[in-house]
């Protein structure tokens, strides 16, 4: 049996942009998720290949992506890859998540945030709203500036 303490608990989630009830799942590693057919929550470390999870997306309800340091940006790619593959469950950023990362993380598909150090919520609210408009197309559904220009 894999440890149930691997991941964060719903109590640690400071910001969440979903209406569904956060389930308290037993979170497993990416390797374990591939072996264990009943796991519904998984934790991605920076060195893990998010694409290893693609065959199991329909049974996953929560994926958390760990940022051991904010400067390790691999988790942004992991998040986008999952969203691009159609994953619709909770995507939780955990670890060294700061105010200045929030807007980019949100754009890459994260919809829940459990920072190691709780953030000032006023700063965070401002950060989530940083960009009125954006230049890049991601899966967040926003129209890009280029699209707005040519409507």
């Amino acid at each position: 049996m894999m440890s149930h303490n691997l991941g964060t608990s719903p109590d640690e989630v400071q910001f969440r942009f979903r209406d569904d009830e956060p389930a308290d799942h037993g979170t497993v590693t990416v390797d374990a998720c591939c072996d264990q057919t009943n796991a519904t929550a998984v934790r991605i470390e920076p060195g893990d290949d998010a694409r290893a999870l693609l065959p199991f997306l329909d049974r996953l309800a929560m994926v958390e992506v760990n940022f051991p340091t904010f400067g390790d940006g691999r988790g942004y790619s992991s998040a986008r890859i999952l969203r691009e593959a159609g994953y619709t469950g909770e995507l939780r950023a955990v670890g060294d998540v700061g105010v200045d990362q929030l807007s980019h993380m949100r754009r890459c598909g994260f919809d829940a945030f459990a920072p190691d150090k709780p953030l000032n919520s006023e700063d965070a609210t401002r950060a989530f709203a940083t960009w009125d408009n954006v230049y890049q197309r991601t899966t967040d559904g926003r129209k890009t500036i280029q699209e707005l220009r040519h409507e």
């Binding site: 942004y76 691009e84 990362q101 009125d132 408009n133 991601t138 500036i145 280029q146 699209e147 040519h150």
Partner: protein, 544 residues
């Protein structure tokens, strides 16, 4: 040139306000220096040896006179009356106070400028050919593609925390004037079967492990340009090394995986990305292109009166053939004899702005060789232009000569440097000018770096000098045979290093070898390539 619309302006304005708040929190102590560091770096603010340094982005090196004037005014108001143009076509101020930084960014935003992504492990300012839109030999103007890449790379949500900094250059001529293959991604706009597209070169760079980028795709259709770049970056973001900052650039990934395996991964990601629809609408490129349309060129005289030899020399040395035969591009040398390479005073910047307005359709360019270009000057106006430049100490006729050297700021400013670069550059230019040897040597690219990070491009110098610290004493290594042009090559070290006096003597000796061995119209680099290192080594190290 490109002009912001309300969207571009809003992005920059939002960033100024965000930074103002961050700086306030640092100054009142609610942010520690450790917390503030990544934030200020995203806005181009470095802490140097003596003060803060602010690096301002000049996208693809193109600016208008209002922007140049704003840079001059900032130099006077907030710095010590000068600025330093860099090898990535940017401008640095070396004496900035943190209290002023947000106001400076606000002044820049008023003229559609910023310091965004001029530092940090993100996609940096896109550089390009300084003669873009003017050169006789280009396929198309590369800047619309550079502008498309600028927008795509600005605040890219996935690529803001890359393993290391990331530099992209775009050219559109066979002649490479942007050191394209020494960039993380070099893009050459090419034509194939009547269609315009892009060749991608990935994994070049200088630094402590210099590499020449291999071509990984000979033709990417323009309708997939951004998608292909995104695929290149995603593979790098996921698999570039993060265990060692000295092995974190994409050149190491491409080298370790091998070009073929890296390419295979990019192609796989590219196929996936194509389904994601990340490419901006092709209409956007069509919106951008007219900003770079030719100004209204007029026919005029096609040659100059050469009766003044000083003027004739400047014309021969410092002008570049234009696509319109009544015009040239004129290079304003920021390498006066004994000066600091790339520095310009506020007054000089204002003058260059004024001259651009008068003689060059309001446009200026920054060269990666740390000079300024007026891209579209009527041949008929050249004498008046030269007269004004010469009076302001900006008329040095030394483009591509040994005096037109690249030098990093070195130990005089930089916290990373091991040795001084500027005094060495000053002494070499004084020596070669005084002896008249500069003239005899013709094209000779000398590049000086004050440490192994190679900001002075020493690997790509026909002659390169690298300052190192040997047991607390500044020591200089000499290398020969590098080139940043379309015949890209990396210089080889001659042997043991020299003292400051010794390396100046050594440069003198290797140029003597060239002068005695040159055949026909050979440049230093050509002679070196023909005769090899041995004769130079013998001259440098053999006891008489």
């Amino acid at each position: 040139m490109y002009q912001y619309d309300q969207y571009d302006q809003a992005m920059v304005d939002a960033r100024v306000e965000e930074f103002r708040d961050q700086a306030r929190r640092r100054l009142d102590g609610s942010l520690t220096e450790d917390e503030f560091k990544p934030l200020r770096l995203m806005n181009g603010l470095y802490l140097q040896l003596h003060a803060y340094m602010l690096r301002v982005a000049i996208p693809y090196g193109t600016l208008n006179s209002a922007q140049m004037t704003a840079l001059a005014n900032i130099a006077d108001k907030y710095d010590r009356g000068y600025g330093h143009f860099t090898t990535r076509q940017n401008l640095q101020y070396n004496w900035i106070k943190l209290e002023d930084a947000a106001d400076i960014l606000a002044d820049l935003a008023k003229v559609e400028m910023h310091a965004i992504q001029t530092s940090g492990n993100c996609i940096r300012n896109i550089s390009s050919d300084h003669f873009a839109g003017a050169a006789h030999d280009e396929l198309v103007d590369p800047r619309p593609y550079a502008e498309l890449l600028r927008q795509w790379s600005s605040f890219h949500p996935e690529f803001t925390y890359l393993p290391r900094k990331f530099k992209i250059a775009v050219v559109a001529a066979e002649k490479d004037r942007a050191a394209m293959r020494l960039h993380d991604i070099g893009i050459q706009i090419v034509e194939k079967d009547g269609e315009v597209g892009a060749s991608f070169y990935v994994g070049g760079g200088m630094g402590r492990t210099p590499m020449i980028a291999p071509m990984i795709r000979d033709f990417v259709p323009l309708s997939q340009l951004i998608t292909y770049a995104e695929a290149c970056l995603r593979v790098y973001n996921r698999y570039g090394r993060r265990d060692n900052k000295y092995k974190a650039r994409i050149k190491i990934l491409v080298h370790e995986l091998g070009k073929d395996e890296y390419t295979r991964q990019v192609e796989e990601e590219f196929a996936h990305m194509l389904e994601q629809g990340v490419e901006p609408p092709i209409d956007e490129l069509e919106r951008i292109k007219p900003f770079f349309a030719d100004p209204a060129f007029e026919d005029g005289v096609k040659s100059v009166d050469r009766s003044d030899p000083d003027f004739a020399l400047w014309v021969d040395r410092n002008t570049h053939r234009h696509k319109h035969d009544s015009y040239v591009s004129a290079v304003i040398s920021l390498k006066p004899v004994g000066g600091i390479p790339g520095d310009a005073t506020g007054d000089q910047m204002r003058l260059m702005a004024e001259l651009a307005k008068q003689y060059s359709f309001d446009e200026l360019r920054i060269m990666h060789t740390q000079n300024v270009v007026l891209p579209h000057v009527k041949i008929a106006d050249l004498h008046a232009l030269w007269t004004a430049l010469d009076a302001a100490g900006l008329g040095a006729p030394n483009m591509d000569s040994i005096e037109d050297m690249i030098a990093c700021p070195g130990l005089d400013y930089c916290a990373l440097a091991n040795a001084r670069s500027i005094p060495l550059a000053q002494r070499i230019s004084e020596k070669f000018d005084a002896s008249g040897k500069t003239e005899k040597l013709g094209e000779l690219k000398l590049k000086i770096s004050g440490c192994i990070n190679a900001c002075g491009h020493h690997h790509a110098g026909h002659i390169g000098i690298l300052g190192v610290d040997r047991k607390g004493i500044e020591n200089y290594q000499l290398s020969l045979g590098g080139s940043e042009a379309e015949d890209t090559s990396l210089a080889k070290i001659t042997g043991p290093g020299f003292t400051e006096d010794g390396v100046i003597e050594a440069v003198d000796k290797v140029t003597d070898v060239y002068l005695s061995q040159k055949e026909g119209e050979e440049r230093f680099l050509d002679t070196y390539r023909r005769i090899g290192m041995t004769p130079f080594k013998e001259a440098l190290y053999d006891k008489a």
